[in-house]
Protein backbone atom coordinates (compact mmCIF):
# COMPACT_ATOMS: atom_id res chain seq x y z
CA UNK A 1 0.00 0.00 0.00
CA UNK A 2 1.29 3.43 -0.87
CA UNK A 3 1.35 5.70 2.12
CA UNK A 4 1.75 9.39 1.60
CA UNK A 5 4.73 10.87 3.31
CA UNK A 6 3.31 14.01 4.91
CA UNK A 7 6.65 15.63 5.69
CA UNK A 8 7.84 15.38 2.12
CA UNK A 9 4.52 16.43 0.67
CA UNK A 10 4.42 19.55 2.83
CA UNK A 11 7.95 20.47 1.85
CA UNK A 12 7.22 19.95 -1.83
CA UNK A 13 4.16 22.18 -1.44
CA UNK A 14 6.28 24.82 0.24
CA UNK A 15 9.28 24.84 -2.11
CA UNK A 16 7.59 23.78 -5.33
CA UNK A 17 7.79 20.55 -7.32
CA UNK A 18 10.89 21.36 -9.31
CA UNK A 19 14.47 20.19 -9.30
CA UNK A 20 15.69 23.49 -7.87
CA UNK A 21 13.81 22.63 -4.69
CA UNK A 22 15.81 19.49 -4.08
CA UNK A 23 18.51 20.95 -1.85
CA UNK A 24 16.12 22.99 0.33
CA UNK A 25 13.85 19.95 0.69
CA UNK A 26 16.72 17.67 1.65
CA UNK A 27 18.00 20.23 4.10
CA UNK A 28 14.60 20.50 5.75
CA UNK A 29 14.07 16.76 5.90
CA UNK A 30 17.37 16.42 7.66
CA UNK A 31 16.57 19.21 10.06
CA UNK A 32 13.28 17.56 11.03
CA UNK A 33 14.40 13.94 11.18
CA UNK A 34 18.17 14.07 11.77
CA UNK A 35 18.56 11.67 8.88
CA UNK A 36 17.70 11.53 5.20
CA UNK A 37 16.52 7.94 4.85
CA UNK A 38 16.38 6.01 1.62
CA UNK A 39 12.61 5.81 1.94
CA UNK A 40 12.43 9.58 2.13
CA UNK A 41 14.70 9.90 -0.88
CA UNK A 42 12.33 7.70 -2.88
CA UNK A 43 9.38 9.80 -1.77
CA UNK A 44 11.16 13.03 -2.64
CA UNK A 45 11.95 11.62 -6.07
CA UNK A 46 8.29 10.79 -6.57
CA UNK A 47 7.11 14.24 -5.48
CA UNK A 48 9.57 16.05 -7.75
CA UNK A 49 9.22 13.55 -10.57
CA UNK A 50 12.93 12.80 -10.81
CA UNK A 51 14.81 9.55 -10.33
CA UNK A 52 15.60 8.27 -6.86
CA UNK A 53 19.21 7.77 -7.96
CA UNK A 54 19.37 11.50 -8.70
CA UNK A 55 18.13 12.33 -5.22
CA UNK A 56 20.63 9.90 -3.72
CA UNK A 57 23.46 11.38 -5.76
CA UNK A 58 22.70 14.89 -4.57
CA UNK A 59 22.03 13.95 -0.96
CA UNK A 60 25.33 12.09 -0.58
CA UNK A 61 27.39 14.91 -2.09
CA UNK A 62 26.89 17.45 0.69
CA UNK A 63 28.53 17.04 4.07
CA UNK A 64 25.65 18.62 5.99
CA UNK A 65 23.07 16.26 4.49
CA UNK A 66 23.45 13.16 6.61
CA UNK A 67 22.18 9.86 5.33
CA UNK A 68 22.97 8.10 8.61
CA UNK A 69 21.01 8.80 11.76
CA UNK A 70 22.52 11.65 13.76
CA UNK A 71 21.87 12.94 17.23
CA UNK A 72 19.47 15.78 17.91
CA UNK A 73 22.50 18.03 18.18
CA UNK A 74 25.40 17.63 15.79
CA UNK A 75 28.61 19.10 17.12
CA UNK A 76 31.04 19.98 14.33
CA UNK A 77 34.50 21.02 15.39
CA UNK A 78 36.64 22.85 12.89
CA UNK A 79 39.81 20.94 12.09
CA UNK A 80 41.29 23.38 9.60
CA UNK A 81 44.63 25.04 10.08
CA UNK A 82 44.09 27.99 12.41
CA UNK A 83 41.76 26.07 14.68
CA UNK A 84 44.30 23.26 14.69
CA UNK A 85 47.02 25.74 15.68
CA UNK A 86 44.81 27.03 18.47
CA UNK A 87 44.20 23.66 20.04
CA UNK A 88 41.22 21.96 18.44
CA UNK A 89 42.63 18.55 19.43
CA UNK A 90 42.31 19.43 23.07
CA UNK A 91 38.70 20.46 22.49
CA UNK A 92 37.94 17.21 20.74
CA UNK A 93 39.51 15.24 23.58
CA UNK A 94 37.40 17.13 26.08
CA UNK A 95 34.23 16.49 24.10
CA UNK A 96 35.03 12.81 23.67
CA UNK A 97 35.43 12.48 27.43
CA UNK A 98 32.34 14.52 28.20
CA UNK A 99 30.10 12.68 25.78
CA UNK A 100 31.85 9.31 26.09
CA UNK A 101 31.91 8.84 22.33
CA UNK A 102 34.59 9.03 19.67
CA UNK A 103 34.59 11.33 16.68
CA UNK A 104 31.89 10.26 14.26
CA UNK A 105 29.74 8.62 16.92
CA UNK A 106 26.40 9.46 18.49
CA UNK A 107 25.66 9.30 22.21
CA UNK A 108 23.43 6.35 23.22
CA UNK A 109 20.66 8.74 24.31
CA UNK A 110 20.60 10.10 20.76
CA UNK A 111 21.33 13.62 21.89
CA UNK A 112 24.77 14.42 20.45
CA UNK A 113 26.79 13.43 17.41
CA UNK A 114 30.44 14.45 17.40
CA UNK A 115 32.08 15.35 14.10
CA UNK A 116 34.92 17.28 12.57
CA UNK A 117 34.38 19.73 9.75
CA UNK A 118 36.38 22.13 7.60
CA UNK A 119 36.87 25.86 8.18
CA UNK A 120 33.77 27.47 9.69
CA UNK A 121 34.73 31.03 8.84
CA UNK A 122 35.52 31.87 12.48
CA UNK A 123 39.29 31.49 12.21
CA UNK A 124 40.11 34.68 14.12
CA UNK A 125 38.30 33.16 17.08
CA UNK A 126 39.49 29.58 16.93
CA UNK A 127 39.01 26.93 18.05
CA UNK A 128 35.46 27.05 16.77
CA UNK A 129 32.54 24.65 16.50
CA UNK A 130 28.92 24.53 15.44
CA UNK A 131 26.16 22.87 17.40
CA UNK A 132 23.55 22.45 14.70
CA UNK A 133 23.40 26.03 13.34
CA UNK A 134 24.85 27.86 16.31
CA UNK A 135 28.53 28.85 16.27
CA UNK A 136 30.71 28.74 19.39
CA UNK A 137 34.16 30.30 19.31
CA UNK A 138 37.32 30.79 21.36
CA UNK A 139 36.70 27.43 22.94
CA UNK A 140 38.50 26.14 25.99
CA UNK A 141 37.88 22.81 27.70
CA UNK A 142 36.03 24.64 30.47
CA UNK A 143 33.86 26.55 28.03
CA UNK A 144 33.00 23.35 26.19
CA UNK A 145 31.90 21.69 29.42
CA UNK A 146 29.59 24.61 30.19
CA UNK A 147 28.09 24.56 26.72
CA UNK A 148 27.39 20.83 26.75
CA UNK A 149 25.93 21.06 30.25
CA UNK A 150 23.63 23.83 29.13
CA UNK A 151 22.32 21.72 26.25
CA UNK A 152 21.83 18.75 28.55
CA UNK A 153 19.98 20.80 31.12
CA UNK A 154 17.68 22.29 28.51
CA UNK A 155 16.86 18.78 27.34
CA UNK A 156 16.01 17.72 30.89
CA UNK A 157 13.71 20.69 31.24
CA UNK A 158 11.97 19.86 27.99
CA UNK A 159 11.58 16.26 29.07
CA UNK A 160 10.09 17.08 32.48
Amino acid sequence: MLQTNETIKKLADKFGRKEESLLPILENVYEQKHIISEDDMVDIARELDISAAKVYGTATFYSFLETKKCGKYVIRICKTITCMMHGKNQIIKELEELLKVNLGETTPDGLFTLKETNCLGQCHKGPAMLINDAPFTELTPGKVRDIVNKYRQEEKQVAS
Partner: protein
Protein backbone atom coordinates in the same frame (compact mmCIF):
# COMPACT_ATOMS: atom_id res chain seq x y z
CA UNK B 1 54.53 48.56 17.70
CA UNK B 2 54.41 51.18 15.01
CA UNK B 3 51.24 50.62 13.02
CA UNK B 4 52.30 51.77 9.60
CA UNK B 5 49.45 50.57 7.41
CA UNK B 6 46.52 52.86 6.92
CA UNK B 7 43.21 51.40 8.14
CA UNK B 8 40.28 52.19 5.87
CA UNK B 9 36.61 52.27 6.61
CA UNK B 10 34.70 52.20 3.35
CA UNK B 11 33.02 48.84 3.68
CA UNK B 12 32.06 48.64 7.33
CA UNK B 13 31.07 52.25 7.90
CA UNK B 14 27.40 52.00 8.70
CA UNK B 15 25.80 54.42 6.30
CA UNK B 16 22.01 54.35 6.45
CA UNK B 17 21.53 55.62 2.96
CA UNK B 18 21.09 52.56 0.76
CA UNK B 19 17.71 54.04 -0.22
CA UNK B 20 19.22 57.37 -1.25
CA UNK B 21 22.11 55.78 -3.16
CA UNK B 22 19.79 53.35 -4.86
CA UNK B 23 17.32 56.03 -5.88
CA UNK B 24 20.11 58.28 -7.12
CA UNK B 25 21.74 55.46 -9.09
CA UNK B 26 18.53 54.20 -10.65
CA UNK B 27 17.99 57.66 -12.15
CA UNK B 28 21.20 57.30 -14.12
CA UNK B 29 21.54 55.38 -17.36
CA UNK B 30 22.88 51.83 -17.48
CA UNK B 31 25.76 53.01 -19.65
CA UNK B 32 26.81 55.64 -17.14
CA UNK B 33 26.69 53.19 -14.26
CA UNK B 34 28.75 50.59 -16.10
CA UNK B 35 31.21 53.27 -17.16
CA UNK B 36 31.66 54.23 -13.48
CA UNK B 37 32.37 50.64 -12.54
CA UNK B 38 34.80 50.09 -15.37
CA UNK B 39 36.72 53.28 -14.73
CA UNK B 40 36.88 52.55 -11.00
CA UNK B 41 39.02 49.52 -11.82
CA UNK B 42 37.06 47.31 -9.41
CA UNK B 43 37.99 43.65 -9.69
CA UNK B 44 36.23 40.70 -8.12
CA UNK B 45 37.08 40.08 -4.48
CA UNK B 46 36.21 36.38 -4.53
CA UNK B 47 39.70 35.38 -5.59
CA UNK B 48 39.73 35.31 -9.40
CA UNK B 49 39.84 39.07 -9.86
CA UNK B 50 37.70 39.51 -12.97
CA UNK B 51 36.84 43.17 -13.72
CA UNK B 52 33.38 43.72 -12.29
CA UNK B 53 32.26 46.43 -14.73
CA UNK B 54 33.04 44.19 -17.68
CA UNK B 55 31.17 41.29 -16.10
CA UNK B 56 28.03 43.41 -15.71
CA UNK B 57 28.42 44.77 -19.22
CA UNK B 58 28.66 41.30 -20.74
CA UNK B 59 25.56 40.16 -18.90
CA UNK B 60 23.69 43.28 -19.92
CA UNK B 61 24.53 42.57 -23.55
CA UNK B 62 23.67 38.88 -23.33
CA UNK B 63 20.31 38.02 -24.76
CA UNK B 64 18.14 35.11 -23.93
CA UNK B 65 16.20 33.72 -21.11
CA UNK B 66 15.66 35.06 -17.64
CA UNK B 67 18.72 36.71 -16.09
CA UNK B 68 19.99 36.36 -12.55
CA UNK B 69 22.10 38.25 -10.02
CA UNK B 70 23.82 36.02 -7.50
CA UNK B 71 25.77 37.02 -4.46
CA UNK B 72 28.40 34.42 -3.67
CA UNK B 73 28.42 34.05 0.11
CA UNK B 74 29.81 30.54 0.17
CA UNK B 75 33.04 31.78 1.79
CA UNK B 76 34.73 28.45 2.34
CA UNK B 77 38.39 29.26 1.75
CA UNK B 78 40.29 28.44 4.94
CA UNK B 79 41.19 31.61 6.76
CA UNK B 80 38.44 33.74 5.20
CA UNK B 81 35.67 35.21 7.31
CA UNK B 82 35.16 38.74 5.98
CA UNK B 83 31.99 38.03 3.97
CA UNK B 84 30.22 36.82 7.11
CA UNK B 85 31.06 40.11 8.79
CA UNK B 86 29.97 42.18 5.78
CA UNK B 87 26.65 40.35 5.58
CA UNK B 88 26.08 40.75 9.31
CA UNK B 89 26.96 44.40 9.61
CA UNK B 90 26.26 46.09 6.25
CA UNK B 91 23.94 43.75 4.28
CA UNK B 92 22.04 46.70 2.76
CA UNK B 93 25.15 47.73 0.82
CA UNK B 94 25.39 44.28 -0.73
CA UNK B 95 21.71 44.27 -1.61
CA UNK B 96 21.87 47.76 -3.09
CA UNK B 97 24.70 46.54 -5.33
CA UNK B 98 22.61 43.55 -6.38
CA UNK B 99 19.59 45.71 -7.18
CA UNK B 100 21.56 48.17 -9.29
CA UNK B 101 23.12 45.25 -11.14
CA UNK B 102 19.65 43.80 -11.69
CA UNK B 103 18.40 47.02 -13.26
CA UNK B 104 21.44 47.22 -15.51
CA UNK B 105 21.33 43.66 -16.83
CA UNK B 106 17.54 43.34 -16.74
CA UNK B 107 17.07 40.75 -14.01
CA UNK B 108 14.08 40.24 -11.73
CA UNK B 109 15.58 37.60 -9.52
CA UNK B 110 18.55 37.58 -7.20
CA UNK B 111 19.95 35.01 -4.81
CA UNK B 112 22.35 35.11 -1.91
CA UNK B 113 24.07 31.72 -1.87
CA UNK B 114 24.86 31.45 1.82
CA UNK B 115 27.08 28.65 3.06
CA UNK B 116 25.35 26.26 5.47
CA UNK B 117 27.90 27.13 8.14
CA UNK B 118 26.36 30.63 8.22
CA UNK B 119 22.77 29.49 8.61
CA UNK B 120 22.61 31.36 11.91
CA UNK B 121 22.60 34.58 9.86
CA UNK B 122 19.38 33.69 8.05
CA UNK B 123 16.73 35.23 10.37
CA UNK B 124 18.50 38.58 10.47
CA UNK B 125 19.22 38.55 6.74
CA UNK B 126 15.64 37.70 5.87
CA UNK B 127 14.47 40.63 7.91
CA UNK B 128 16.80 42.92 6.00
CA UNK B 129 15.63 41.42 2.71
CA UNK B 130 11.98 42.12 3.61
CA UNK B 131 12.77 45.73 4.40
CA UNK B 132 14.78 45.99 1.23
CA UNK B 133 11.89 44.64 -0.85
CA UNK B 134 9.66 47.40 0.54
CA UNK B 135 12.23 49.91 -0.60
CA UNK B 136 12.35 48.34 -4.07
CA UNK B 137 8.57 48.57 -4.31
CA UNK B 138 8.77 52.26 -3.47
CA UNK B 139 11.35 52.73 -6.19
CA UNK B 140 9.32 50.68 -8.63
CA UNK B 141 12.08 48.18 -9.25
CA UNK B 142 10.84 44.71 -10.06
CA UNK B 143 13.51 42.67 -8.30
CA UNK B 144 13.41 40.09 -5.54
CA UNK B 145 16.20 38.57 -3.45
CA UNK B 146 16.11 35.15 -1.86
CA UNK B 147 18.59 33.22 0.26
CA UNK B 148 19.75 29.86 -1.02
CA UNK B 149 21.39 27.82 1.69
CA UNK B 150 24.46 25.71 0.93
CA UNK B 151 24.95 22.36 2.62
CA UNK B 152 28.61 22.14 3.53
CA UNK B 153 30.67 21.89 0.35
CA UNK B 154 33.64 24.17 -0.31
CA UNK B 155 33.54 23.47 -4.04
CA UNK B 156 30.12 25.13 -4.29
CA UNK B 157 31.88 28.48 -4.00
CA UNK B 158 33.13 27.85 -7.54
CA UNK B 159 30.54 29.65 -9.62
CA UNK B 160 29.39 26.87 -11.96
CA UNK B 161 29.33 24.33 -9.15
CA UNK B 162 27.20 26.82 -7.23
CA UNK B 163 24.69 26.92 -10.11
CA UNK B 164 24.63 23.13 -10.24
CA UNK B 165 23.90 22.98 -6.55
CA UNK B 166 21.09 25.55 -6.85
CA UNK B 167 19.60 23.47 -9.63
CA UNK B 168 19.46 20.45 -7.33
CA UNK B 169 22.50 18.58 -8.57
CA UNK B 170 25.77 17.46 -7.04
CA UNK B 171 28.12 20.44 -6.82
CA UNK B 172 30.27 19.46 -9.77
CA UNK B 173 31.80 22.34 -11.76
CA UNK B 174 30.91 22.74 -15.42
CA UNK B 175 33.20 23.29 -18.35
CA UNK B 176 33.81 26.91 -19.29
CA UNK B 177 32.86 28.34 -21.72
CA UNK B 178 30.03 29.06 -21.67
CA UNK B 179 30.71 31.64 -18.99
CA UNK B 180 28.05 32.61 -16.45
CA UNK B 181 27.53 35.98 -18.13
CA UNK B 182 26.13 34.05 -21.11
CA UNK B 183 24.73 30.92 -19.50
CA UNK B 184 24.75 30.61 -15.72
CA UNK B 185 21.98 29.61 -13.37
CA UNK B 186 19.33 27.61 -15.26
CA UNK B 187 21.10 28.60 -18.46
CA UNK B 188 20.26 32.28 -18.05
CA UNK B 189 22.84 35.09 -18.26
CA UNK B 190 24.04 35.49 -14.69
CA UNK B 191 26.16 37.96 -12.80
CA UNK B 192 27.78 36.22 -9.87
CA UNK B 193 29.81 38.37 -7.53
CA UNK B 194 31.47 37.99 -4.20
CA UNK B 195 29.83 39.66 -1.18
CA UNK B 196 32.63 42.19 -0.83
CA UNK B 197 32.63 43.04 -4.55
CA UNK B 198 28.95 43.97 -4.34
CA UNK B 199 29.53 46.10 -1.25
CA UNK B 200 32.28 47.97 -3.15
CA UNK B 201 29.92 48.73 -6.04
CA UNK B 202 27.71 50.53 -3.54
CA UNK B 203 30.66 52.70 -2.45
CA UNK B 204 31.59 53.43 -6.06
CA UNK B 205 28.05 54.51 -6.92
CA UNK B 206 27.97 56.61 -3.79
CA UNK B 207 31.35 58.33 -3.88
CA UNK B 208 32.19 58.07 -7.57
CA UNK B 209 34.91 56.00 -9.24
CA UNK B 210 37.66 58.55 -8.59
CA UNK B 211 37.68 58.11 -4.86
CA UNK B 212 37.93 54.35 -5.29
CA UNK B 213 40.65 54.62 -7.89
CA UNK B 214 42.70 56.86 -5.62
CA UNK B 215 43.25 53.87 -3.38
CA UNK B 216 45.58 51.03 -4.20
CA UNK B 217 48.05 50.71 -7.03
CA UNK B 218 47.98 50.15 -10.77
CA UNK B 219 45.91 47.07 -11.70
CA UNK B 220 44.79 46.71 -8.09
CA UNK B 221 42.51 49.58 -7.25
CA UNK B 222 40.60 50.30 -4.11
CA UNK B 223 40.60 48.81 -0.69
CA UNK B 224 40.39 45.18 0.29
CA UNK B 225 39.00 43.47 3.33
CA UNK B 226 41.52 41.06 4.82
CA UNK B 227 40.86 38.20 7.19
CA UNK B 228 43.88 37.92 9.46
CA UNK B 229 44.44 34.78 11.52
CA UNK B 230 47.10 32.43 12.81
CA UNK B 231 50.05 33.59 14.89
CA UNK B 232 49.03 37.18 15.36
CA UNK B 233 48.24 39.18 18.48
CA UNK B 234 45.49 40.95 16.54
CA UNK B 235 43.42 38.42 14.56
CA UNK B 236 40.39 39.88 12.86
CA UNK B 237 39.01 41.70 9.85
CA UNK B 238 40.82 44.71 8.43
CA UNK B 239 40.19 46.96 5.47
CA UNK B 240 43.52 47.95 3.92
CA UNK B 241 44.80 49.46 0.73
CA UNK B 242 46.10 47.24 -2.06
CA UNK B 243 49.78 47.47 -2.87
CA UNK B 244 51.38 46.90 0.54
CA UNK B 245 54.36 44.62 0.83
CA UNK B 246 54.05 41.53 2.93
CA UNK B 247 56.84 42.91 5.12
CA UNK B 248 54.70 45.91 6.04
CA UNK B 249 51.79 43.60 6.70
CA UNK B 250 53.83 41.35 8.96
CA UNK B 251 55.27 44.34 10.82
CA UNK B 252 51.72 45.36 11.63
CA UNK B 253 50.09 42.04 12.30
CA UNK B 254 52.79 39.50 13.08
CA UNK B 255 53.90 38.46 16.55
CA UNK B 256 57.50 39.43 15.81
CA UNK B 257 58.46 35.88 14.87
CA UNK B 258 56.60 35.30 11.59
CA UNK B 259 58.33 32.76 9.39
CA UNK B 260 55.70 32.49 6.67
CA UNK B 261 52.39 33.93 5.54
CA UNK B 262 49.83 31.97 3.58
CA UNK B 263 48.18 34.46 1.24
CA UNK B 264 44.81 33.51 -0.23
CA UNK B 265 43.98 30.48 1.86
CA UNK B 266 44.68 26.83 1.16
CA UNK B 267 44.33 27.63 -2.56
CA UNK B 268 46.82 30.48 -2.24
CA UNK B 269 50.57 30.83 -1.85
CA UNK B 270 52.91 30.43 1.07
CA UNK B 271 55.51 33.19 1.29
CA UNK B 272 58.60 32.62 3.45
CA UNK B 273 60.20 35.35 5.54
CA UNK B 274 63.03 36.05 3.08
CA UNK B 275 60.50 37.06 0.42
CA UNK B 276 58.31 39.29 2.60
CA UNK B 277 59.70 42.58 1.31
CA UNK B 278 59.59 41.54 -2.35
CA UNK B 279 55.98 40.42 -2.22
CA UNK B 280 53.26 42.92 -2.96
CA UNK B 281 49.64 42.22 -2.18
CA UNK B 282 47.49 42.85 -5.22
CA UNK B 283 46.22 41.22 -8.37
CA UNK B 284 48.61 39.85 -10.95
CA UNK B 285 49.72 42.78 -13.00
CA UNK B 286 52.66 45.03 -13.60
CA UNK B 287 53.64 45.33 -9.99
CA UNK B 288 57.29 45.08 -9.15
CA UNK B 289 58.30 41.88 -7.48
CA UNK B 290 55.87 39.09 -6.94
CA UNK B 291 52.25 40.07 -6.65
CA UNK B 292 49.62 37.83 -5.24
CA UNK B 293 45.92 37.81 -5.88
CA UNK B 294 43.96 37.21 -2.77
CA UNK B 295 40.44 36.61 -1.58
CA UNK B 296 41.71 38.21 1.58
CA UNK B 297 42.84 35.26 3.67
CA UNK B 298 46.11 36.00 5.49
CA UNK B 299 47.37 33.27 7.78
CA UNK B 300 50.54 33.97 9.71
CA UNK B 301 52.81 31.19 10.95
CA UNK B 302 55.60 31.78 13.45
CA UNK B 303 58.75 29.75 13.84
CA UNK B 304 57.17 27.30 16.27
CA UNK B 305 54.98 25.90 13.47
CA UNK B 306 55.78 22.88 11.37
CA UNK B 307 55.16 23.70 7.73
CA UNK B 308 54.77 19.99 7.12
CA UNK B 309 51.73 20.03 9.40
CA UNK B 310 50.42 23.09 7.61
CA UNK B 311 50.72 21.45 4.20
CA UNK B 312 49.28 18.21 5.53
CA UNK B 313 46.26 20.09 6.82
CA UNK B 314 45.72 21.81 3.44
CA UNK B 315 46.02 18.56 1.52
CA UNK B 316 43.61 16.88 3.88
CA UNK B 317 41.22 19.71 3.13
CA UNK B 318 41.58 19.31 -0.65
CA UNK B 319 41.18 15.53 -0.52
CA UNK B 320 37.89 15.99 1.31
CA UNK B 321 36.61 18.90 -0.71
CA UNK B 322 37.55 17.73 -4.21
CA UNK B 323 34.27 17.01 -5.94
CA UNK B 324 35.81 13.89 -7.43
CA UNK B 325 34.64 14.63 -10.93
CA UNK B 326 38.01 14.69 -12.68
CA UNK B 327 40.89 12.28 -12.20
CA UNK B 328 43.84 14.69 -11.90
CA UNK B 329 42.29 16.31 -8.87
CA UNK B 330 40.54 13.31 -7.29
CA UNK B 331 43.60 11.07 -7.49
CA UNK B 332 46.22 13.83 -7.46
CA UNK B 333 45.19 15.31 -4.12
CA UNK B 334 45.27 11.87 -2.51
CA UNK B 335 48.64 10.99 -4.00
CA UNK B 336 50.17 14.28 -2.85
CA UNK B 337 48.98 13.60 0.68
CA UNK B 338 50.21 9.99 0.69
CA UNK B 339 53.43 11.19 -0.94
CA UNK B 340 54.44 13.72 1.69
CA UNK B 341 53.56 11.21 4.41
CA UNK B 342 55.83 8.63 2.79
CA UNK B 343 58.72 11.09 2.52
CA UNK B 344 58.26 12.14 6.13
CA UNK B 345 58.24 8.51 7.32
CA UNK B 346 61.35 7.86 5.28
CA UNK B 347 59.63 5.30 3.07
CA UNK B 348 60.47 7.44 0.05
CA UNK B 349 63.65 9.39 -0.54
CA UNK B 350 63.62 13.17 -0.60
CA UNK B 351 63.97 13.01 -4.39
CA UNK B 352 60.38 11.81 -4.48
CA UNK B 353 59.40 15.41 -3.68
CA UNK B 354 60.42 16.31 -7.25
CA UNK B 355 57.94 13.80 -8.60
CA UNK B 356 55.23 15.21 -6.34
CA UNK B 357 56.02 18.74 -7.50
CA UNK B 358 55.61 17.71 -11.10
CA UNK B 359 52.35 15.94 -10.25
CA UNK B 360 51.09 19.18 -8.73
CA UNK B 361 52.09 21.06 -11.90
CA UNK B 362 50.27 18.48 -14.00
CA UNK B 363 47.17 19.07 -11.90
CA UNK B 364 47.46 22.78 -12.57
CA UNK B 365 47.27 22.13 -16.30
CA UNK B 366 44.81 19.25 -16.41
CA UNK B 367 42.30 19.69 -13.58
CA UNK B 368 38.87 20.83 -14.61
CA UNK B 369 38.31 23.69 -12.19
CA UNK B 370 40.08 26.13 -9.93
CA UNK B 371 40.18 23.75 -6.99
CA UNK B 372 42.38 21.15 -8.62
CA UNK B 373 44.32 23.78 -10.55
CA UNK B 374 45.29 25.72 -7.44
CA UNK B 375 46.48 22.85 -5.26
CA UNK B 376 49.93 23.41 -6.78
CA UNK B 377 49.97 26.96 -5.38
CA UNK B 378 50.28 25.96 -1.78
CA UNK B 379 51.95 22.63 -2.48
CA UNK B 380 54.83 24.00 -4.52
CA UNK B 381 55.35 27.13 -2.48
CA UNK B 382 55.52 25.18 0.77
CA UNK B 383 57.63 22.28 -0.51
CA UNK B 384 60.08 24.53 -2.33
CA UNK B 385 60.53 27.00 0.49
CA UNK B 386 60.48 24.58 3.40
CA UNK B 387 62.00 21.49 1.89
CA UNK B 388 63.91 20.43 5.02
CA UNK B 389 60.72 20.50 7.05
CA UNK B 390 59.11 18.08 4.62
CA UNK B 391 61.92 15.57 5.07
CA UNK B 392 63.09 15.72 8.69
Amino acid sequence: MNKSLKRLDLIFKNEHDADVILEKSLKRSNEELIEDLISSGLKGRGGAGFPTGLKWKLSAEATGKEKYVICNADEGEPGTFKDREILSSVPHKVMAGMAICARIIGSQKGYIYLRGEYKFLVPQLNKTIDEFHELLDKLNLDFRIEIFLGCGAYICGEETSLFESMEGHRGEPRNKPPFPTDAGYKGGPTVINNVETLAHTYSIFKYGPEKFKDLGVKDSRGSKVFSVSGDTPTPGIYELEFGMTLQKFVDDFGDGDAKAVQVGGAAGFCVPRKKFDKTVIGYKGKLTGVSLPTGGSMMIFNSSRSMYNVLHNYLDFFVEESCGQCTPCRVGTQQLLLGIEAVKRGDKSSLYLEQLLSLAETMRITAKCGLGQSVANSFSSIVENFREEMIY
